[in-house]
Symmetry: C2
Subunit: 320 residues, 2 copies
């Protein structure tokens, strides 16, 4: 939950004067998104999300993200669309922060996704990749393989506080992935954070994808690997092979990836586990007193990493 920046009614009224979306009838800080402050804004013309970008988001990346959302909406992908002010600009400032108004998307996150939800996630991830093909924006993945070692260096000394032996496990995995990280895969714009928090459903149908603030250029199959990590493990820690098959086949039904991408999946899944293990470890070791967001336990991703280390081929994920 997160409202880091308070917006006064007076400042909001002036801000809305730049747009053609009517006057505010209400706005409520909402517990959504861990990186930014979000308000659900009701005007006499409709419902919107007002986002104030906080310090963890690089201001220079915002045109890439907002432009990508514009692009996806033009391709009829179900996602929030930035509202442009009368001067054509979507990125403004409010209460001292960069800010944007985004269209409101109906739908709810699923706490306990079933196989059908997983299939839809795969399907919609593929549609996202396809829609992104001709987006001209470029943004490097600032949480990609090159960044894992520097991130580890900042955590290594205290990693064993979380789990004895963790430092050694990560060091070995980093060495393995450095030597075996797949190259030459199909590239595109990936979501890079398509967790259950970021997929809306109404009944069992996906109503849209949100939170494009990690989107970047990277291997498409790596995005699939992130989704496998995020959607196909039970709360008990157990891998659900049926969910993985539904997810990967949902993807392939729309955007069939070449054999090389598919073969790379076990290593990509290891990498995705390591990426979330490392960022969670960092956040766990660097908890801010009085922070609004409780850091998540890194060990969940250690367990997932161990599963992927044992996966012999992409058949483990329902692909052949």
């Amino acid at each position: 939950m997160a409202v880091y920046t308070e917006v006064s009614q007076e400042d909001l009224a002036i801000f809305l004067g730049q747009y053609d979306i009517g006057r505010a009838l209400s706005y409520k800080g909402i517990a959504e998104g861990v990186e930014n402050s979000n308000y659900l804004l009701q005007t006499d013309k409709g419902r919107y999300i007002l986002t104030l970008y906080e310090k963890r988001v690089e201001v220079k990346d915002l045109p890439f993200f907002l432009g990508f959302m514009d692009h996806l909406a033009q391709k009829n992908l179900k996602c929030p669309v930035p509202v442009h002010a009368r001067d054509g600009v979507a990125l403004k400032r409010l209460s001292g922060r960069p800010a944007a108004i985004i269209s409101f998307l109906d739908g709810m996150c699923i706490n306990r996704p079933n196989e059908k939800h997983c299939e839809q996630v795969g399907f919609n991830l593929a549609r996202l990749h396809m829609a992104g093909r001709d987006y001209t924006g470029v943004r490097a993945n600032n949480l990609g393989p090159d960044q894992w070692r520097p991130l580890f260096d900042q955590c290594a000394a205290r990693a064993d506080e979380v789990t004895p032996g963790l430092k050694q496990i990560i060091a070995e995995e980093l060495d393995y992935l450095t030597q075996n990280w797949p190259g030459g895969l199909s590239q595109g714009i990936i979501h890079a954070d398509l967790f259950p928090d970021n997929v809306f459903f109404i009944d069992d149908m996906c109503s849209g994808l949100i939170d494009f603030y990690f989107a970047c250029n990277d291997a498409l199959a790596y995005d699939l690997a992130i989704c496998i990590n995020a959607w196909c493990f039970e709360r008990s820690g157990e891998f659900n092979a049926t969910k993985a098959r539904k997810l990967t086949q949902g993807y392939m039904s729309q955007n069939p990836l070449p054999g090389k991408d598919i073969e790379a999946l076990p290593n990509l899944c290891r990498g995705a586990s390591l990426r979330f293990l490392l960022t969670r470890l960092y956040d766990w070791l660097n908890q801010v007193d009085g922070a609004l967001v409780k850091p998540k336990n890194p060990n969940e991703y250690l367990e997932r990493l161990r599963f992927h280390q044992k996966a012999s081929s992409s058949a483990s994920y329902g692909l052949s």
Copy 2:
């Protein structure tokens, strides 16, 4: 900001099955109300607030509060109205907590109230008191004068940690108020917490009052004293006599109080200052690690108390 209890989409769907308000299209935890978890719920029939009552609210009091809101709505006071399930019951359970669905009220809180806002607060407070006259529910004020000394006893030893000399100041004020607390005043149901957080405006017009979870039977003029404390001091700490005049006269234009009530105002204002000074002091000294709500500085109310101690008559508040 406060979402203490997470509600899954699955549990919500079952819960909504008891009502005739359609199916959920979205629900967002909102940063409103410090005592309870609140969700802004959108169904295909409308917008609602879903409230889960947390531990600080006494479950036995909930029928009083919800009944009072029902009663006020019947009198056409602008306030949220509990939605009754098909069985006629407004108070249900969800995710292990007592829960209710309340109608959504348009409007926004004002950060920097002006004289016009203050006049409207007085006007609407009076309307609230008038509408409450024939409400048959009864609830004692559990933060009234009788509770101040026990509250102080829990804080006294550490009061000077907040401000040197505070223990002595409060002890003397308690003695003074015990001897001079006015009796025989007009009684009724008071809001008891009508702070700027709890009054919605659209443009400069009051669109409604919210948060009736401190409502109780007490002196009507004490409610006016709470509002004077809450609305008529500037951020600098200075008392704004014009705002107080507008507020009290806005009140009197609707519900003229007898002379005895008016004469009691300086002591009632001292009592209201002390009440918020004590509860803030208690919360300040008993901060919970990782709490979502940052306690407010008690000293604000020490300054207000000092102002009221010097007020010679109700003329200080614009009444004669």
